[in-house]
């Protein structure tokens, strides 16, 4: 089991890599990838059963990126885990690449092609339903954006997930409160989001989406309510970890220039150094 400090360190490395990748490609979804990096790190390095050497392992847990524009963090994580060679990250968004700007199932480790919002939860319901009907123990994790909640198809799938009592299904909302045009509440008010999901028959758990203690506790207690799908409402900060991108809607798909990349790396390096100190101290106390 990975320690929380190790997960934190991993997520900082991923953030550094994704900034480099977006800078090199001169394109990408910076803000949203940074806001869900911790959620994906928790899932891929601790929570999910999966094997990079056997991406099609039948009993693997499934991850569906309904929020397909989180792909930058996903590519960095899959490469780090060995699903494909790390050098390939430099082809991100380049001519003819398979590492395109949304998940692409030509890449090992990707279950479904996504990108169009409001699709992933229905697909996840199908996967979870198949597991139930066949008596398979795997779980299905579906990451959605908060802006995505305005898609009606999300709620069709929410209804079906509860109707079929899919307690092997976990929906996660990256609740960073910003979408491309501004605040989610100004664009199309979502609140009270928790009560909406509860009303649709889901067991809702609200967590700090950057706090590994809270994330791991929530994931490990699934299903807290037998016969109910779980909705993890993860409060996050868009652009998390890069000061000038945090809580700025324009960083939805802003690209860092050379100067900004340097600053982002310095900030993350400082956090890595602080983490190393912390690790040393906790080691000394042990």
């Amino acid at each position: 089991m990975a320690s929380i400090l190790e997960l934190k360190r991993k997520s900082l490395q991923i953030r550094k890599e994704l900034m480099t990748m977006i800078h090199a490609a001169k394109g990408g979804h910076t803000g949203g990838s940074l806001s869900n990096t911790d959620i994906l790190t928790a899932l891929y390095y601790e929570v999910m059963k999966h094997d990079p050497n056997r991406p099609k392992l039948p009993e693997r847990d499934r991850f569906v990126a309904s929020k397909g524009h989180c792909v930058e963090s996903l590519w960095c994580i899959l490469a780090d885990l060995g699903y494909f060679p790390k050098e390939e990250l430099s082809t991100f968004s380049q001519f003819g690449t398979r590492l395109i700007g949304h998940p692409n199932n030509k890449v090992p480790g990707v279950e479904m092609n996504t990108g169009a919002l409001g699709h992933g939860l229905a697909v996840s319901v199908g996967m979870a339903l198949a597991a139930k009907r066949d008596g398979n123990p795997y779980r299905v994790y579906c990451l959605m954006g908060d802006g995505e909640q305005a898609e009606g198809s999300v709620w069709e799938a929410a209804m079906a997930g509860a109707h079929y009592k899919l307690d092997n299904l976990v929906g996660i909302i990256d609740r960073n409160r910003l979408q491309i045009s501004g605040s989610t509440e100004d664009v199309m008010a979502l609140e009270p989001l928790d009560r909406k999901w509860e009303a649709f028959g889901w067991h809702v758990v609200t967590v700090d989406g950057h706090d590994y203690g809270e994330l791991l506790k929530a994931f490990s207690s699934v299903p807290e309510a037998a016969g109910k799908p779980t909705l993890l409402l993860a409060n996050t900060v868009k652009g998390k970890g890069v000061s000038f991108a945090e809580n700025k809607p324009e960083w939805h798909h802003h690209v860092p220039n050379d100067e900004q990349l340097k600053q982002a790396h310095e900030e993350i390096d400082a956090e890595l150094a602080a983490l190393a100190d912390e690790q040393e101290r906790s080691g000394a106390h042990a």
Partner: protein, 316 residues
């Protein structure tokens, strides 16, 4: 005696047979198990049946998830909604993600005659055939529906099928031993003067027209183009080269359907006089199938007249 078994019932019978030996055959319905004639399946195989309620986007997404998990889901939902409301799920979750989903558009074309344009599906072929990786099929009668159902269950990949609501007169004999091959047209009648190319419920009209033409000494070839995609271009080019004129018949807009597909081939490989018969660019008139077909010239008599004119043009 006229046939009383609609194609949807023939499909259900075949799916019941297939499900006997495979628990991966699944049927999904969007409050449409009755109109899809799938109630017997739901009753016999409840663990292989999924009801999604009236939610056509959801039904396709769920089917894609089931297919991803090794199932062979047959989504049975009215063609008008399935091919329009869920088209993005069809494009992304089925075709692009390459999931083995069989999309069965029921009550297709102008089956719901008097219910209006909301319930007609005469753009479905145009829309679905433009999506890479999706096969598009219209069986001609109940016998072909049964063979096709088996064929697409075996075929690995997304398929859109359109079938009508009402029983259609048989095109094939009960004991016809021709195999159904996806992407391979069936030459129902030989002839060298012109070719009638049809799909779905218009195949019967083409055959009847060919019979009338025989009486006036014109030998029409009849092709049942049950698969619009992948298209049997060889059969079309051969028809153009060997017969010199083509009439297409379809229960679909004259834009983007079978006629357009044939024109795309002939105009680039072997241009010949071509007449596209179908529903014009307007909300289709209300009425029973035969009445609406006749109104738009989809009748044996009209096809005969057109054929006579076309063969005389060709002769000049």
């Amino acid at each position: 005696m006229p046939n009383t078994i609609p194609n949807r019932q023939a499909m259900c019978e075949t799916l019941l047979e297939l499900a006997e030996s495979s628990r991966d055959i699944m049927v999904l319905a969007s409050d449409s198990r009755g109109s899809a004639a799938m109630a017997p399946f739901a009753k016999r195989f409840p663990e292989q049946f999924v009801e999604t309620g009236i939610a056509e986007q959801n039904i396709v997404g769920i089917a894609a998830g089931l297919a991803h998990s090794g199932k062979t889901p047959f989504v049975t939902s009215p063609a008008c909604f399935l091919s329009m409301r869920s088209i993005e799920q069809i494009k992304v979750d089925v075709a692009y993600s390459n999931t083995n989903v069989k999309l069965i558009g029921i009550s297709g074309g102008i089956s719901y005659g008097a219910l209006g344009m909301s319930h007609h599906s005469v753009q479905d072929i145009a829309v679905t055939r433009a999506i890479p990786g999706l096969a598009v099929v219209l069986p001609a009668d109940r016998h072909e529906t049964k063979k096709m159902t088996r064929a697409i269950a075996e075929y690995e990949g997304g398929v859109y099928v359109r079938i009508g609501r009402n029983p259609v007169e048989d095109v094939y004999e009960e004991d016809d031993d021709r195999e159904f091959v996806l992407g391979k047209a069936v030459r129902l009648k030989d002839g060298g003067d012109l070719t009638l190319i049809a799909a779905g419920e218009t195949v019967r009209i083409a055959l009847d027209a060919a019979k009338l033409l025989e009486q006036s000494g014109i030998q029409a070839r009849v092709l049942n183009m049950h698969t619009i995609k992948p298209l049997d271009t060889e059969a079309i080019i051969a028809a153009a080269e060997e017969t010199g004129a083509i009439i297409t018949l379809e229960e679909h807009s004259v834009y983007g359907g079978l006629g357009a597909a044939v024109a795309e081939v002939t105009s680039q490989h072997c241009p010949v006089p071509l007449k596209i018969l179908g529903i014009p660019d307007e909300p289709a008139i209300a009425g029973k199938t035969a009445e609406v077909f006749r109104h738009y010239g989809l009748s044996a008599e009209n096809v005969k007249e057109l054929a006579e004119r076309l063969t005389s043009v060709k002769a000049r």
